[in-house]
C-alpha cells in the first residue's frame, strides 16, 4: 500500500510516515507541490495525503492535475484550516476526505484505510475490521471463523458500515445505500435492519458494534468491553 505524503513540515512528516509504516503502509514523503507532481508522474500511488499550506503553492492547486492523471486515487487533505468553507472548497475540488490538524494518528490511518476500501479502488474483495471479515465475491460474512447468516440487506448494511468505520452515517444515508428507489419502506425499516444485524454480530462475538445515536445516525465502532 504505497502512499504519498505531501507535507512541508519535516518533523510532522517524519512522525506521520513512521506511524503509517508501522501499520503496513509504504510512505513516500515530499515537501512541495512541484515535488509531489514529479513523484506522481512516475509512481502510481494508492492514496495521497496532502497538506494545503505548501511553500511553493497552495495544495488545492494540486488536486486538479492529480485527478486528471489518476482519477481513482483517493486524496485526503490534512490541514490546519478548519473553516467549513475550506472543507467545502477542498471536497469540491476533488478531495475525498479532510482531516484537521492536530489529528489523532489512529484516525488518520483508519481514514486512509477506509478511502482505500472504496469500491472503485478495491481489487481484492475482502473487507475486514477487527475480527469481522466480509468476502464480497463469495458473499460470506465471518466473525473469526464463524460464518454469519445474513440477509441480502444485512450484508449490504455491514459492507456500508465497514467502508465507513468510525464515521457517522445518518439514517437517510443508510436508507439511500441499502434500499432502491421507489421501494416501499416502513418508517422503522432501517432501525429493524440494524437491530437484527447488531444482534447477529453480538451473538457471534464480534469485536465491533453498530452504535445508534438517536436523531444523529449510526456508527460502526469497536465493541465496548
Amino acid at each position: 500500500m504505497r502512499v504519498l505524503l505531501v507535507e512541508d513540515n519535516a518533523k510532522l512528516a517524519s512522525l506521520t510516515s513512521e506511524a503509517m509504516r508501522s501499520h503496513g503502509f509504504a510512505v513516500d514523503w515530499v515537501s512541495s507541490a512541484s515535488d509531489a507532481e514529479e513523484a506522481m508522474s512516475t509512481i502510481s500511488y494508492e492514496a495521497v495525503i496532502l497538506d494545503l499550506g505548501l511553500p511553493d503553492r497552495d495544495g488545492l492547486s494540486l488536486l486538479e492535475p492529480v485527478r486528471r492523471r489518476a482519477p481513482s486515487t483517493p486524496i485526503l487533505i490534512l490541514t490546519a484550516r478548519d473553516a467549513a468553507s475550506s472543507i467545502i472548497d477542498a471536497l469540491d475540488s476533488g478531495a475525498d476526505d479532510y482531516l484537521v490538524k492536530p489529528f489523532v494518528m489512529g484516525v488518520l490511518i483508519s481514514r486512509v484505510r477506509a478511502l482505500m476500501r472504496r469500491p472503485a479502488l478495491r481489487h481484492d474483495t475482502i473487507l475486514s475490521e477487527r475480527n469481522v471479515h466480509l468476502d464480497l465475491s463469495q458473499h460470506v460474512a465471518k466473525v473469526g471463523e464463524t460464518e454469519l447468516q445474513l440477509s441480502r440487506r444485512e450484508f449490504a448494511a455491514l459492507e456500508l458500515f465497514l467502508r465507513r468505520f468510525n464515521r457517522v452515517l445518518s439514517k437517510g444515508e443508510v436508507e439511500e445505500s441499502i434500499y432502491g428507489f421507489g421501494e416501499e419502506l416502513s418508517s422503522n425499516a432501517v432501525e429493524v435492519l440494524i437491530h437484527r444485524l447488531r444482534k447477529k454480530l453480538q451473538a457471534a462475538g464480534a469485536a465491533i458494534d453498530i452504535h445508534n445515536m438517536r436523531g444523529v445516525g449510526y456508527m460502526l465502532t469497536e465493541g465496548r468491553s
Partner: protein, 445 residues
C-alpha cells in the same frame, strides 16, 4: 424628546413652523396697529367735519331749528351720536334730546378729542370739543359718536373677510411647500441614514450611495465610506490573523500528538490524555480570536437542524470513545436563520464539548433544535449559580471567580453577534441546559 435629538428634517420643519407663526402674528399685529391709527385719523376727521358743520349751522341758526340744522341733528342721531353747544361756563345752549349737560367739561383748548368710557349698557363714546369761532363769550360745540363707528367697522370687517384671511392659509401653504421641498432636498440624506442603519457585522462590505448626493453632503458621505473601508480592512486582517494563528498553532500540536502516538511508553498515554485539554484550550483560543472577525451577510441562511446533525456527527466518535452517548431531537422541517455557518457550528461544538466534559459516563448529551434555537443538555452537576444570573460576565477564564469560561463565552459572543443570546439553566431533574437563542426571523431584506 429634546430639540437636540430631533432629526435635521424635523428641526427645519419646527423652525419653519415657528417662523411662519411669527410672521402671521407680526403681520396681524402690524395690520391691527395700522388700522387703529387709520381708524383714529378717520374718526377725528369725521368728528371735525361734523363740528364744523354744526358751527356753520349755529352761526346762521342759533336755535338750530332750520331745515339744514335739523337734518344735521337727525344724521348725528342716526349714527348713535350726541351733541351739545356749551358756553364757557358749561351752560348747555342746545343739545341732543337725551343730553342735558356738556359731554365733557369745557377747557381753553381750541380743539380737544376725548373718550368717554362705556358703562353698563352705555357704549364708549369718542368725541370732539371745539371752540366756535366768533362767539363772545366763547362757545363750544361737543359731538361724540360710539367708538365702534359703523363705517370703520364695516371697512375693517370687509377687509378681514375678503382679503386678510387669505394671508393665513397662504402662509400655511407656503410652509407646506417649503416642507415638501425640504423633504425632497433631504431625501438623499435619509437614504444614506437608512443604508448606514443596515450596516452591521453581517454587512461590512456595504457602502453609502454617493450618486445623486448633494455636493456639500457628498464630502461627509465619502468620508464615512472611507472610514468603512478602513474598518473592513481591519476586520479582514483580523480574520486573516486568526487563520494564520490557527495554522501556526496547529502544526506544532500535530507534531506533539504524532510523537506521543508513536511512543510505546505508558507515560505517553497519560500525556496524550492531558494533551486533550491543551488542544481544546488552543482550539478555544483560536475560536475566541476569530469572533472578532465574525461577519455574515443577511442573505447567509443556515439550517440549525443541519448544523446540529453535523456537529453531533463530528463529535460522535469522541463522545462514544469516552463512554457517553449523544442524541439529536429536531423538527422535520428545516429551521432557517441568518448567520455564519462556521461560527454557529463552532459555538455548538463548544457547548457539546462542554457537556461531554461534565456529564458522567453512561449518560446521554441531548441536542434539541427548536423554532429559534438549539439547546444542549447533559446530566452533569449543572452550572454554578452565579452563571445563571441574567447578566453573566463574558470572557473571563474558567478558573476565576466570575465569568462563563472560555468555551461558553465564545458561544455567548457568537450569539450576541447574531442578535441572539445564550441562556443557561439547571434542569430540575439535574444537569445543565444551554440554549443558543436566535432572534425571531425578521422579514427578508
Amino acid at each position: 424628546m429634546t430639540f437636540r435629538r430631533l432629526t435635521l428634517f424635523r428641526r427645519l420643519v419646527v423652525a419653519m413652523s415657528i417662523v411662519a407663526l411669527v410672521a402671521v402674528c407680526a403681520s396681524v399685529l402690524f395690520l391691527y396697529v395700522r388700522f387703529q391709527a387709520a381708524n383714529d385719523a378717520f374718526r377725528e376727521e369725521t368728528l371735525s367735519t361734523f363740528a364744523q358743520d354744526m358751527q356753520r349751522q349755529f352761526a346762521s341758526d342759533p336755535q338750530l331749528t332750520g331745515g339744514l340744522a335739523t337734518a344735521l341733528k337727525t344724521r348725528i342721531k342716526e349714527l348713535g351720536g350726541q351733541f351739545a353747544i356749551v358756553t364757557d361756563t358749561g351752560r348747555v345752549l342746545a343739545s341732543s334730546e337725551t343730553l342735558d349737560q356738556p359731554l365733557v367739561p369745557v377747557s381753553n383748548q381750541k380743539v380737544r378729542y376725548f373718550l368717554l368710557p362705556g358703562h353698563d349698557k352705555v357704549r364708549a363714546l369718542f368725541g370732539i370739543s371745539m371752540q366756535l369761532d366768533g362767539t363772545n363769550p366763547v362757545h363750544f360745540v361737543q359731538i361724540a359718536f360710539p367708538r365702534e363707528h359703523v363705517i370703520f367697522d364695516t371697512v375693517l370687517e370687509e377687509f378681514v373677510t375678503d382679503i386678510a384671511w387669505i394671508w393665513i392659509p397662504f402662509v400655511c401653504l407656503l410652509l407646506l411647500v417649503n416642507i415638501l421641498v425640504l423633504k425632497f432636498a433631504l431625501k438623499p440624506l435619509s437614504q444614506a441614514a437608512e443604508e448606514a442603519r443596515q450596516i452591521g457585522p453581517s454587512s461590512i462590505a456595504t457602502r453609502l450611495t454617493e450618486t445623486r448626493m448633494p455636493e456639500d453632503v457628498l464630502a461627509l458621505v465619502s468620508a464615512v465610506n472611507e472610514a468603512l473601508d478602513r474598518l473592513q480592512a481591519g476586520f479582514l486582517s483580523l480574520e486573516q490573523f486568526s487563520s494564520h494563528l490557527a495554522h501556526e498553532l496547529r502544526t506544532p500540536l500535530a507534531i506533539i500528538k504524532a510523537r506521543l502516538a508513536l511512543s510505546q511508553d505508558a507515560i505517553a498515554r497519560k500525556v496524550e490524555e492531558d494533551f486533550e485539554g491543551v488542544e481544546r484550550l488552543v482550539s478555544q483560543l483560536v475560536d475566541r480570536v476569530r469572533i472578532g472577525g465574525l461577519h455574515f451577510e443577511a442573505s447567509d441562511r443556515v439550517d440549525l437542524g443541519d448544523i446540529g446533525q453535523r456537529a453531533a456527527a463530528f463529535l460522535a466518535p469522541v463522545i462514544l470513545s469516552k463512554g457517553r452517548d449523544i442524541e439529536l431531537q429536531s423538527p422535520l422541517e428545516p429551521v432557517v436563520v441568518s448567520g455564519a455557518f462556521d461560527f454557529i457550528f463552532r459555538a455548538l461544538r463548544n457547548l457539546i464539548e462542554n457537556a461531554l466534559n461534565h456529564t458522567p459516563p453512561g449518560t446521554t448529551i441531548t441536542v434539541t433544535i427548536f423554532r429559534c434555537g438549539i439547546t444542549v443538555s447533559d446530566s452533569g452537576p449543572g452550572y454554578p449559580p452565579r452563571w445563571l444570573e441574567p447578566v453573566a460576565v463574558v470572557g473571563k477564564p474558567d478558573s476565576g471567580a466570575g465569568g462563563l469560561g472560555l468555551g461558553l463565552s465564545i458561544v455567548k459572543e457568537t450569539m450576541i453577534a447574531h442578535g441572539g443570546d445564550l441562556k443557561l439553566t439547571n434542569l430540575p431533574e439535574g444537569g445543565a441546559s444551554a440554549t443558543m437563542e436566535f432572534p425571531i426571523h425578521r422579514k427578508a431584506i
